[in-house]
């Protein structure tokens, strides 16, 4: 059995904890982090918009690409420490939702966190990236709450039929 744990800023501790609780000892665990191109891209774009500045080495997008690599490494290290078991750390770059699905190709289970608007539970409690991953994952999915799961009292009353 192989398990992929998708590590995302903010919500990853819940995913790592779920893997520790629900995945049997001795299973291959992959901690996966994906860096999207959009944040450094916004930097490239903003610098390109400053007409005539020259100096490509000042492009903030390039500096953010380097910073992103360091911060991803640190995040995966923190996740591995929290897991406290042997695991593989994988860093991928590209369109986040597609990279996650591709990385889960040979896995039996993918662990991810709910990361949409959790103040009103319903379709929007999954953000569009996690929605894509849940819909297209080539394996079973374990969807965890980043905070303690809500109780049954949060379910709205059934619609009234005359």
């Amino acid at each position: 059995m192989a398990v992929v744990v998708w590590v995302v800023e903010g919500t990853w501790p819940a995913c790592v904890d779920a893997a520790r609780t629900h995945v049997p000892e001795g299973t291959d665990i992959v901690l996966l982090h994906v860096s999207g191109p959009d944040v450094p891209g916004a930097g490239h774009g903003a610098y390109a918009g400053l007409l005539g500045r020259g100096h490509p080495e000042l492009d903030p997008g390039t500096r953010m690409e380097r910073l992103a690599a360091t911060s991803a490494e640190r995040l995966l290290r923190a996740a591995a420490e929290r897991l406290g078991r042997p695991c593989t750390r994988v860093e991928r770059a590209g369109r986040v939702e597609r990279e996650v699905v591709a990385a889960a190709e040979r896995a039996d289970l993918l662990v991810l966190a709910r990361d949409g608007d959790r103040t009103r539970l319903g379709p929007r409690s999954l953000g569009h990236t996690s929605r894509f991953v849940v819909d297209h994952a080539p394996c079973a999915v374990l969807l965890v709450w980043p905070e303690p799961a809500p109780d049954l009292g949060t379910i709205p009353p059934p619609p009234h039929h005359p």
Partner: protein, 402 residues
């Protein structure tokens, strides 16, 4: 020439083509020599100021001002993404207003990214906020944006009057952006962050802060005595340089590079070229498009034309084209042009269609951003903040008077 400036083949400086192009136009008589000289004399103080403020921002960076901003934001945010967004909005708006949009794009954006990573929150809303505020936040002072400097010279307003008239539009535009960002990035902002670790107490770059504050006061005082702001900014840069140069994170060569001499030449040449284009037909073509009324509708129309033009070409040539047409209608129309060219570029990733198209062709970076998302964000923020900012400008003009 504009195409060249956007494409920059072989990594040449923009000035390599802009300066000969200006020379050819003068040589062929498209621009009479005396007019080219007048245009250059008009742009001279603006370009001088630009050099001084670029150096000032570089020295502030060497003094650790931006690192300190990062430390301050991280502490004040206390691992809450929404609170960090507020800190980023405040910091980026102030840095842009005082040290110009270049400082926000080049120096603050990477610091904001590093801060978000350190706090453990998703960086996207905060980095996008920086890029948006480098435009929207540049409305306040004549020194915040090169476009403002050009308009300031044309409007005949004093430094304080300019700031007083633009204060309300500045606040309104930023508040509108904030409201849209909170909704647009609700997912990323709701993701939370690990509890804050014990960070080191941040350094306080008191000297840099005091110099910047002194420079700001200097702008106001100098404006009252008719001294160009370039001298004040140069004085501020000199004070910081005297302290920073003896081995405090910068070198004389780095300071000279920060002044970006090829860029200054480019601005001068661009002024002459645009003058030629405007005088040889563009003025007549655009004259019908610029509304003449100084009422609310006239201001809205002027700002809309400016925003569209800034998105098609780029805001720098756009403001050079529109200023001679708007200036006769009074300072209200000039400031409306500014609202358009400063807020407008948030609509397109890379500031204008010209830049964007070229980057798509070049694929300068292997993976491009999700243009759909960036454009959706622009469509939500730009029209709303532009209309509200123009209304705010109209109110300011009624209350304070142009």
């Amino acid at each position: 020439m504009l195409a060249f400036a956007v494409m920059r083949p072989w990594g040449w400086a923009e000035a390599v083509v802009a300066v000969p192009a200006a020379a050819v136009l003068i040589g062929t008589g498209a621009v009479p020599v005396h007019q080219a000289a007048a245009e250059t004399a008009r742009l001279g103080p603006v370009v001088g100021f630009l050099a001084a403020v670029l150096v000032l921002a570089h020295l502030c960076d060497a003094e650790g001002l931006f690192r300190a901003c990062g430390d301050w934001m991280a502490r004040a945010a206390a691992a809450k993404p929404r609170r960090l967004l507020v800190q980023v909005f405040v910091t980026a708006a102030l840095i842009t207003a005082v040290l110009s949009l270049d400082a926000t794009v080049v120096l603050l954006t990477p610091v904001v990214f590093a801060t978000a990573a350190r706090v453990g929150v998703r960086p996207k809303p905060h980095v996008y906020a920086c890029t948006h505020l480098s435009n929207t936040g540049s409305l306040l002072l004549p020194v915040s944006n090169l476009t403002n400097l050009l308009a300031y010279a044309a409007s005949g307003l004093s430094f304080t009057r300019f700031a007083a008239l633009m204060g309300l539009p500045w606040l309104v535009a930023i508040a509108t952006e904030y409201a849209v960002f909170r909704r647009f990035f609700a997912t990323d902002l709701g993701a939370g962050a690990p509890p804050p670790g014990a960070g080191q107490p941040p350094e306080r770059p008191v000297f840099a802060l005091a110099t910047v504050a002194g420079t700001l006061i200097g702008f106001v005082v100098a404006s009252a005595f008719g001294v160009p702001p370039a001298w004040v900014a140069a004085a501020g840069a000199l004070v910081l340089a005297a302290r920073a140069l003896p081995g405090r994170g910068t070198s004389p060569l780095a300071v000279v590079r920060a002044a970006a001499l090829p860029f200054l030449l480019f601005v001068l040449a661009l002024g002459v070229v645009v003058r030629a284009v405007v005088d040889n037909g563009l003025a007549r073509a655009l004259d019908d498009l610029i509304p003449s009324g100084a009422g609310l509708l006239g201001l809205l129309g002027t700002a809309a034309v400016a925003a569209v033009l800034a998105n098609v070409i780029n805001n720098l040539p756009a403001v050079l084209v529109l200023l001679p047409l708007a200036a006769p209608a009074g300072s209200g129309a000039v400031l409306a042009v500014l609202l358009g060219v400063n807020i407008g570029p948030n609509l397109t990733y890379a500031g204008s269609l010209a830049t964007l198209l070229w980057r798509r062709v070049m694929r300068a970076h292997r993976t491009e951003v999700d243009l759909g998302e960036f454009t959706r964000l622009g469509l939500l923020t730009v029209p709303a903040s532009l209309v509200l900012a123009v209304v705010a400008l109209w109110v300011s003009l009624r209350v304070i008077g142009g």
